[in-house]
Amino acid sequence: MEDAPNRNRSTKPGLEECLARILLGDVEGALDLAQHKVRETRPHRPAFAFGVGDKGDAELVCEWCERELARKGEERHGA
């Protein structure tokens, strides 16, 4: 089950900054933000705004960025 996001928060700044960085091509920057800014402050549950299943959104951003960087690395090797 998904955790309902906190509806009292009108924004999810850290998460949205990650998304913006990814869309601008800065996947490493998004990964860095998700790994450090959140994990240092909320190590028990690395989440910006909400969780999906047993994972926080920040964790999912990290995993997605790691996969994306690995894919790009493979593409570079293959080229």
């Binding site: 009108s10 949205e16 998304l19 990814i22 999906v52 959104d57």
Partner: protein
């Protein structure tokens, strides 16, 4: 009607007042190219999507609204990361009403419209103010983007 009496009325009739606001807001918004779904005003301005939450306050005759604008790609990317890719092909209003969505770039945050519940025309007046404020803010934002693009090609 005294001010505190008016506030008591608001508190007692909140459900009816909410309904009156939605009923007034829907046609005004539609006339400006906006839709109203589940208390959210939204407008499809591809590649942008604008959404405003409109919330009558609980204890006083005040309506608060906030407006954000985002690209469609913003929610698509979020859903991709969260493993909810199928949301991208759902109805457009999901980008306004969905719990797992982004707010985007904030154009209006918590602006208040104070209404006089004793006036019969308050829903229409509030609806006009809210819808036109949102529409103007989005137009100005999109204009600024066009201006930036023009500037970058010089």
């Amino acid at each position: 009607m005294r001010a505190d009496q008016s506030e008591n009325e608001w508190l007692r009739n909140r459900k009816a007042e909410k309904r009156a606001l939605w009923e007034a807001l829907r046609p005004v918004a539609r006339g400006l190219g906006w839709r109203l779904t589940g208390g959210y005003l939204w407008s499809d301005r591809r590649p942008f999507f604008a959404r405003a939450s409109v919330m009558p306050q609980r204890l006083s005759p005040v309506i608060t609204f906030s407006l954000g604008v985002k690209t469609f790609a913003f929610d698509d990317l979020l859903w991709n990361i969260l493993g909810m890719q199928s949301n991208s092909s759902e109805r457009t209003s999901l980008r306004a009403t969905g719990a797992f969505t982004t707010f985007g770039y904030g154009l209006i945050r918590g602006r208040e419209v104070v209404v006089d519940p004793s006036s019969g025309s308050w829903p229409e007046e509030a609806a006009r103010e809210i819808a036109s404020s949102c529409d103007k803010a989005v137009d100005a934002f999109l204009e600024s983007i066009v201006g930036m693009r023009r500037g970058s090609t010089r």
